[in-house]
């Protein structure tokens, strides 16, 4: 051990299931102990890497609590502190490392299967512990620095290769830093080429110049500015995109005849459609096939009852359907004629070239528009991916292997609520676990609105502050033994702090997320990956 570790206390009791308790040394101030802090327990044979989950004040004698020392009597308070009154800190051990492995060997890091003996010392973790557990960018492109543990400087790395193996979620209430975290993660995926990204960018925050709250420059760079030709900006609203002095690579237009009834189903909630209205859309579809929607919208509202009669549907529900779907007529990107270049075709071309796509919605930032477009495009893209995967399984030719695609959606609970998740394409993708090389990155402020089954499929969850108990519970769906983590989640700062748990990190950890600033841009812009030379040699020497 290079530097002397700072001791915090000694383990006094606990269990494997419920976690451990330590008595805080009286020299330590309880106010410096934070929930979520990363610490090490030095057992006899193992080191246990753990997280502080909770803490409480205890006393040996209830009488003291009835007659607390007078306020001015600081000496009495100090005498009692650590002897008669003391702080107990609850810890959740996550991983253990055998201390007896010789230094040249790579230590084996295992999930905890035992607990440290009585009075084992508890210490603050050191930088080298963080890299031992979470890897180091110097060790290869699979590691991506996403932030630092509380009160520490050494980076916590996300294992991007594991990250893209599943669908993932980024949660937190509004203003906590979800969009910034998403930009960080996406930057990692783009820079280290671990997957191709398609981002449904509802508020135009990912491609070019996005707003930032608070001090300093009011804008931060988008992915296009950081990665230039690796990223393309597609838009639904070219005027808005150009208005922000961004030259879009492609303008997405969708002809009415590409919209299927299945694309309208997810709009049930936003449009407040009744199920009978939806049924009647099937009737129209069976009669007019691909032109069903245009035919419906072209009807004059006065002639609707005739139209209903003609196809044998209920006039009332046809009326409702017509009235509600007429909102789609406001969308300029919906065209009567097929556009010259099919959007899905174009998207697939870019993906095949490994280019990442940010699809800006411009001023079309209504939920209706977002749901509609994301569903239409994703359904088709997914369809193509199924074909490509099947082809690859047939030929087994490496060049046929589809590129991993990560689709980022915001307001995910609108796509993945228990009702929608059963029928929409996003529910299918979330549940099939990347069987067809497509996975989701869902960004949401109300995880409790997302279907449980989908939540439990999420591989990695990066969660900022949440206040609603239901949301906290939702984020921990499918995670065993969550008592401690719940308290940690509830105590996160309101900005730039997050709990990461799941597949891409060896143990849950609370981080202060990496600053998305000039330094970050510089690191990203380094064209090919080199890392810091010093770091590599240091790391190699250590392993």
């Amino acid at each position: 051990m290079t530097k002397k570790r700072k001791r915090l206390g000694a383990i006094t009791k606990g269990s494997l299931v419920e976690g451990l308790e330590m008595k805080l040394d009286s020299a330590q101030s309880i106010e410096e102990i934070k929930a979520g802090k990363f610490i090490v327990i030095d057992g006899e044979k193992n080191q246990f890497f753990s997280m502080i989950t909770d803490m409480r004040l205890d006393s040996t004698n209830p009488e003291i609590l009835l007659n607390p020392p007078d306020e001015e009597n600081g000496i009495m308070r100090e005498i009692l502190s650590g002897t008669n009154t003391y702080a107990t800190v609850c810890l959740k051990p996550m991983l253990m490392v055998d201390k007896t492995t010789c230094p040249e060997e790579k230590p084996e890091i295992r999930p905890v299967k035992s607990i440290p003996a009585h009075f084992s010392g508890v210490y603050e973790a050191q930088d080298e512990d963080v890299s031992k557990i979470f890897g180091d960018e110097g060790l290869g492109t699979k590691y991506f620095n996403i932030g630092t543990p509380l009160d520490m400087k050494s980076p916590v790395c996300l294992n991007l290769e594991r990250f893209v193996e599943r669908s993932n979620g980024i949660f937190g209430k509004s203003g906590t830093g979800k969009t910034f975290l998403t930009r960080l993660v996406l930057s990692g995926l783009v820079r280290n080429s671990k997957a191709v990204n398609l981002i449904f960018d509802m508020h135009n925050e990912y491609g070019w110049d996005a707003r930032k709250e608070g001090g300093g420059s009011a804008f931060v760079k988008g992915l296009k500015q950081l990665f230039n030709e690796k990223v393309a900006i597609f838009t639904l609203d070219p005027d808005s995109t150009r208005g922000r002095e961004v030259q879009p690579d492609f303008t997405v237009q969708i002809p009415y005849n590409q919209i299927e009834v299945d694309d309208v189903l997810p709009l049930e909630e936003v449009l407040n459609l009744t199920s009978t209205a939806l049924e009647s859309s099937y009737l129209i579809r069976s009669r007019f096939e691909k032109e069903w929607l245009r035919t419906l919208l072209d009807q004059d509202s006065r002639d609707l009852s005739d139209f209903a009669e003609e196809i044998g549907a209920d006039a009332k529900s046809i009326g409702a359907l017509h009235r509600k779907l007429s909102r789609l007529k406001d969308f300029k990107f919906l065209t009567k004629k097929a556009p010259q270049v099919d959007a899905v075709q174009k998207i697939m071309e870019y993906i095949e070239k490994g280019k990442h796509i940010v699809l800006e919605f411009g001023r079309q930032s209504s939920l209706l528009c977002y749901l509609l477009v994301a569903n239409i495009l994703t359904r088709r893209i997914h369809h193509r991916y199924i074909k490509k995967t099947e082809n690859y399984l047939c030929t087994k030719n490496p060049s046929d292997e589809p590129k991993h695609l990560v689709i980022t959606i915001e307001e995910a609970h609108k796509f993945l609520n228990p009702c929608a998740a059963k029928q929409t394409i996003f529910g299918i993708i979330a549940r099939e676990m990347r069987k067809y090389y497509v996975s989701l990155l869902v960004v949401d402020q109300r995880p409790s609105g997302i279907d449980d089954e989908v939540l439990s499929q999420l591989g990695t969850r990066i969660t900022s502050q949440l206040n609603d108990e239901k949301d906290i519970q939702a984020v921990l769906t499918g995670v065993s033994n969550t008592a401690g983590l719940r308290a940690v989640l509830a105590s996160l700062d309101s900005k730039q702090q997050a709990l990461i748990l799941g597949h891409a990190v060896p143990m849950p950890v609370v981080i202060k997320s990496r600053n998305y600033d000039e330094d970050f841009y510089r690191d990203m812009i380094k064209s090919s990956y080199t890392g810091k030379v010093v770091d590599i040699s240091r790391v190699i020497a250590r392993w």
């Binding site: 009286s26 040996t60 004698n61 009488e63 003291i64 007659n67 020392p69 000496i75 009495m76 100090e78 005498i79 009692l80 650590g82 002897t83 008669n84």
Partner: protein, 189 residues
């Protein structure tokens, strides 16, 4: 240094010593050392007077001390002051040991007051408090108060010293919070 007294009764637990004159009486709760080998340390827990003639009892004369010394000098020969001190450790090979010495102090050895420096070095350990606590409770609390006040003065009323001492006492008193509070209050007065 002024002698405090001479040992007249001795055991490994405590000593009784007679004071040479009234100026050499050690204050209650003070740390004294008995010059034997090894040097033994004790804390004064009782100071009293007695008459050396078993058949005589002192009587009241109604005179001032000066007048008495003038007119009845013999009574001062007959009346003696002595003190009892509980042994709290000994000094050997450059260290203070805070447990009973192997042998009692020899009779007629001299007792001296400890200097502030000696008091400070000795109170770096806190285990001696237990030996004071072995006195009966009414006595021990008073002795602890006087002793700690003197030591605290030697430490120039350093807060940290008092906190350390308080912590030790709070462990010794177990759950007796009232006792601890009352003692600490009186020490700090």
């Amino acid at each position: 240094m002024n002698k405090s007294g001479e040992v007249l009764e001795s055991s490994t637990r405590e000593v009784m010593a007679e004071c040479r004159d009234k100026d050499s009486i050690p204050p209650l709760g003070s740390l004294v050392k008995i010059e034997t080998t090894p040097v033994i340390l004790a804390v004064v827990y009782n100071v009293f007077t007695y008459c050396i003639e078993p058949n005589r009892r002192p009587t009241a004369y109604g005179l001032s001390i000066e007048e008495l010394e003038e007119e009845q000098p013999q009574i001062f020969e007959l009346l003696k002051t002595a003190f009892q001190a509980v042994i709290v450790g000994f000094y050997q090979d450059g260290v203070y040991h805070q447990f009973s010495p192997p042998l009692p102090p020899s009779l007629h050895s001299f007792v001296y007051p400890c200097s502030e420096e000696e008091l400070k070095s000795f109170t770096e350990g806190k285990d001696f408090l237990r030996m004071i606590m072995n006195l009966n409770r009414g006595q021990s609390d008073e002795i602890i108060i006087s002793f700690v006040r003197q030591a605290w003065t030697a430490y120039k009323r350093d807060k940290l010293f008092l906190i350390d001492m308080g912590k030790e006492l709070s462990i010794l008193f177990k759950d007796d919070y009232d006792r601890l509070r009352s003692i600490m209050r009186r020490i700090m007065k």
